[in-house]
Structures are given as C-alpha cells and as structure tokens.
Subunit: 392 residues, 2 copies
C-alpha cells in the first residue's frame, strides 16, 4: 500500500494550526494569555433566536413524535425549512434558486475541498494571497496550481489575463485575507473569462455578510454566472457558527459539463461520502437567516465592524498601510520593515498579540500580516494600545 | 474541464435514496403511509442525559464566557471531554488509545469515504454483501474492487484467501446487512493476512453496540491490529445519532506506511478539508458514552433488540430463512422465491411495508432482503402481521 505521494507537497501542518501551536508555546513559556487576533474565529455568543431554535430542536429530539433521524435523501439531507431560508436569503439580492440547487454541509472548508471529487482537473487558478485551504486541497489532489496576483497596485483584486486560464478558478470576495471586494463589473469580467474558456468559477462567499454598499454578495448577481459558477458560503462568519458547523454550496441547474448537471454529480458524491448536518444545527441556521436572525446577527456584525474600525484607526496611528476592515472582518497590514513572519514573532513576543503572518496566504503576503476583528472589544483595544506603544 | 469519469460507474442514485424515492411514490399513489423497515434510521428519542448535555451546550453558546468557536486544532477540532469519553469506551474492552489516535467526525460514512485521500490504492477487497457506500466511494476514486463472498455456506463471514489480496480490505462486523459477527479467531486471521501482505484493514465498527457475548467489538482486541487496522465507528446506531451526526476514526500510532504515521496524514487531511463537529453534538456524544448514557442508551438498544426478536419470530413463522437480529439491528431474510427486488415490490404493494432489496448490498444479496429493527414497536408488529398474512 502506497500513501498519497502528494502529502509531501504540503506544509507539515495547516497554517492556522502552526500559528496556534506557536501561540500556545508562547503562553506556556510566559505563563500568560496572548491576545488572539490570528485565526478568524468568532467570540460573540449566538443570536438569541438561534439559541431558541437550537433548544427547540434538542427538545424535538427528546420526543418520539418529533424525533428526526437522517435528513431527507432527496435534498442531500437538508430540511426544507433551511433550504427555504437560504432561498429567501438569495431572493433579497435578486437571485432565484430552487431547492435542488442548494446543498447544505458542515462548512465551507469541507465543500471547497470535497468539490474536487467532481472533476478531472489539470490546472487550477488561485488568487494570491488567499485562504490557504484552496491550495492545500489542490496540492493533495496533485493538481497544478497557477496564481493570479493580488497586489497593492491592483487593489488586491487580480483580474483575468488571456493565456492564463485553468479548469477551475477560485475567487474569494470579500477576499480573505485582504478584505478586497470585487465590483459587479470586475466580477463580470471573470464570469465572461470563465465562460469563454469553459472554466468553472469556485466562488467563496464566506464573508458576504460583511459587504456594504453596492458590491455583489453573490456571484449569481452577475449575468452568465449560472452557466459557469459554483458558490460556497457559510454561517460561520455571518452568524457566529464556527463551532456549530453549517455551510452550503449552490450549483445552478445550468451548470452542465459533458452533458451532465454538476448538481446531480454533487448530490451523488454527497450520498456516497456524507450524511448531512445535525438537525439542531439546521434549525439554528434557519433561524439565523430569518428576519429576526438577520437583525440580531446584524448587531453582532456591527460589534465586529467597530472592532475593525478600531484596528484600522490603530494601524493608521502607527503609520502602517492597511486594507480591509470595511467589507471584511480582517485587516491586511503591511509590515513597515521585515516580513510577516518576523512581525508575527515581534508582536507575539513584545506585545503578547497573536496575528497571522501573511506569507501563509501566498507569496504575495510575505510582507504583510492579518488582524482579525473577531476578538472582544477589550482585547481589540488592548492589542492596539500595545502595538501602538511598540511601534510609535 | 472534464468531469470525474468514474461517476459513470456508479448507479445514478445511492441505494437508500432509490428505495426512499420508490417508497414516496407508493405513498403518493396510495395516499397511505408505508411502514419503513428499509433504511437503518433510528426512531427512539435521544437518551435523557444526552438531551441535557445538548441543552447545556446550547446554553454555553449563548454566553460570551462559555462560548466555543472552532474546536482545538491540535486534536482535529475534537474536545478533550469527548476524546476522553471515547478513550474510556475502549478501555472497557481492554483497548488503550491515546488522544492523538482518535479523530472525531460528522459520521462514519464521511470517514469511510474520505480516508481514501490518504492512499494511492490500486485494489480494494470488499465483503459481499456489505454497506454500499464502500463500493461507491472506491468506484468514484477509480479503484479496482474485488469481493470476498459472504454466503449462507460460510455464515456470511468471508475469510482471507491467499492470492486474493488488496491494498485496502474493508471489514464490517457485525456486518451490515447480514448481522454476521466475526469471532476473535476469525478476526485474527484477517489481521495476520493484512500484516503478511502489508494491506490495511478498514474496520467498520458502526454496529459494535449490538454485539453480545464474547465477540470482539473492536478490531484492536486482536493482537497485531494496531500495525494494520483503521477502525471507524459511530454514535448513529449506538446512541440514536443519525440526525445529530457524530462518528470517529481510530488510527493507531503503530500504523506507519512509507515511514509516515497514517494518523499524521489524516490529521493533515482533516485540517485541509474539514473543520470539526458541532460543539453541541460533541457534548451529546460524550454524554452518550458516560456511565449514565450507557445505561440509558442500553434501554433504547433493548427496545430495538426486542423489535429484532419480533421480526425474527415473524420470519420463522413464515418459514423464511433469516440471519442477524442478534448482534445486529438488521434481519437478513432469504426470499422463498424470486429476488429481493421482487420482494421489495411485493411487500410494498401488498403490505405497505418498505424493506431494502438485498442486491443493493452486492451480488450475494440478490435473493435476500433486509429488515431493520429501528421502527416503533407498533409498526414492527404490524409489519410482521401483514407479511405473515401475505405469506402463510
């Protein structure tokens, strides 16, 4: 038995696991708690209506008359109440989806990796910098990766270049880590490019809840996307579900390759290697997308937005160039000297503040670090204070 | 972009989805509810201590001080309280596991499929008949499948044959669908065979809670298994978690290929394409494996065992040969004439009882059908009454 040789192409551990381990080491050495502005993990409690829905679901499981086992086969184990909530969520921005186009999962990361099962891919195009799980999943599958460079000069928004195509093109907007968000016109160019080359866009909308103003929150707001794009989204950042686990993937009926609907392939893949999301989680997710949930989650997002504003103001005060923090819970900060790795060590050892070194998101991130707005207000303010004292 | 050509080798839909669809059709045509003895889905409410633990976990998520986001990176997002409960579960049968050898997931089906990411497999050996997800996942990956025949003559317990080896060997004991369970001596022969040929055993212990008497519940009760076996198990059938979603995979530290611990590869795979199980689910699972949970879940198992006894008695009364129903919630029934498909249609159309046609589990199941003991007592008794009236 041979092991999958492609593991050799991966870092020994995943970016956020490496960072977390280094932070734990620091804490043990110094017998002190670090302020974590590193991994994008939420800290605010769930919205009250979500909590109520989850309690209600647990109660349902306590009585034979209301007990639920496996979810419905016909919809890849998702309940109509959740599909309906997601459908309604899209309707608000003018996107019409049918139940058969929506697939509920335990999270965007799972789907972004597992979707590769559908294809025989030679080459993928990834933005640089971007969420590292894309590259990892493709390296593991032995795919050739090429990069579209997001740099200060193009506002961290790489655009398609003729002659630089791929079977599969990942886009993340708002981008993790830079917070850059594509306009309608920019996204249209990507859709047209994919359409022209028969490529598939894998659009990661995990941060769509942070979009403000007239930017697309879904790739399907762009004409032609239903023929070429898969969208993956999540309740993790929109409703604080990092520990509750719920995401979803949209595959429009028009997305056909080799005469086959990709939605039917994905349904078949999920029937073979997946068994659905917890009923309790599904009830909570549906509540998060209700009117009440949207209002309550909106208050939580406002809390994080204010944290982002404090971080932005703080970095400005230190005369550090930064992007993000507006359509995104992340601030992407340029190191005044040295590398993101060096700043990671500096800020950890001198301020007790954990950040994420930018190089972990791609070569274009070497001289940056990422701050997350997901901490508490107190920790956010304290981190800014300490960094300011160090750098000014 | 090419699609994965191996989808063409799969049935268009998954066995249990096909059956469910046919049953829904019947119900619509006849405007009547069918009694479902088909898919192995539980119906009893969760144990009271599991319900309490899940409510408590939801409450934790409602307060900032007790809120939990992503699970711990170091243990593939599983909490120590659950790892400890699983560790203790194994300890009771004399199997010592460390936390780093236990990986918690959203279910056995996911793990059984996703584990293929670790290997470069040429050939796999599957029992026939067996749970159809094994074959589906391997067909999807383009692997060559050979079968070890479980037939009436060998008590549905295929044994290794020299010259019939494979990279990966799946075993399911107690077997789904036949309910056959390997003895310690039989399992030892498989472990020795795998050891001799450098093969890996993928041991599916999803039904271990149903084992009675002196049969192994874990492959690690057999000497040498730590060098060659991965075990996958689940809370679905042991604690009624089909709708709550929790399973786990054990990869011992001694399981090394190409100089690499398979546990470290799996940890890396999960970091790349998975983000852990709901905190609420993890709390519920830990409660199910507590002393109290074991007692309460034991009462639920006793309820299903009594259903199995009623089914067995009923089939005896109809003079139908059957196996299972003792170490297993399933009865494997031989058709007195015709095929399992024909009996599926006959029992559905004449009795309004849904069963699973045996051919869906492999060629060796063509002349059988499977009954599950997971229905209510009333439905079980009513189904037996109707089948008896039809066949006697």
């Amino acid at each position: 038995m041979q092991i999958n040789e492609h593991f050799a192409n991966l870092h020994e551990s995943y970016l956020f696991a490496r960072v977390a381990e280094r932070v734990r080491e620091y804490e043990q050495e110094h017998n002190a708690r670090a302020i974590r502005l590193s991994i994008g993990d939420v800290t605010r409690p769930l919205a009250p209506c979500v909590i109520r829905a989850m309690h209600g679901a647990v109660d349902d499981l306590s009585r034979a008359e209301t007990f639920r086992g496996y979810g419905p086969d016909a919809t890849s184990y998702a309940y109509d109440f959740l599909l309906s909530a997601i459908q309604n969520h899209y309707k608000k921005r003018g996107v019409a989806l049918s139940f058969g186009e929506i697939f509920v999962s335990d999270g965007a990361k799972s789907d972004l990796g597992n979707l590769l099962d559908l294809f025989s891919v030679e080459k993928v195009l990834l933005p640089d910098p971007v969420y590292p799980a894309y590259a990892d999943a493709n390296l593991l599958a032995g795919h050739k990766i090429i990069y579209a460079e997001g740099r200060e000069e193009n506002g961290f928004l790489p655009m398609p270049e003729e002659g630089k195509g791929a079977d599969l093109i990942y886009l993340c907007s708002p981008n993790n880590p830079t917070g850059a968000v594509y306009s309608h016109a920019q996204l249209k160019r990507w859709v047209e490019f994919a359409g022209r080359h028969g490529a598939i866009l894998l659009f990661d909308a995990a941060y769509e809840a942070y979009v403000t103003g007239n930017f697309p929150r879904s790739v399907y707001e762009v004409e032609g996307a239903r023929e070429c794009a898969i969208e993956v989204s999540s309740f993790s950042k929109a409703a604080g579900f990092t520990g509750v686990r719920c995401g979803y993937t949209v595959i429009p009926n028009e997305l056909v390759r080799g005469g086959v609907r990709l939605s039917s392939l994905w349904k078949r893949r999920q029937a073979c290697k997946f068994n659905g999301v917890s009923y309790v989680t599904q009830r909570g997710a549906a509540a998060a997308y209700s009117e009440e949930g949207e209002r309550e989650c909106g208050e939580i997002l406002a809390y994080y937005r204010e944290n982002a504003r404090i971080l932005k103001e703080g970095m400005n005060g230190c005369r550090l160039f930064s992007t993000g923090g507006v359509h995104s819970p992340y601030l992407w900060v340029k190191c005044p000297y040295g590398t993101g790795e060096q700043f990671f060590e500096l800020l950890l050892s001198r301020c007790g503040v954990a950040v994420t070194p930018g190089g972990g998101f791609g070569a274009g991130g070497e001289r940056y670090f990422r701050l997350t707005a997901f901490s508490s207000r107190e920790d956010t303010a304290e981190a800014v204070k300490r960094i300011t004292e160090l750098l000014t």
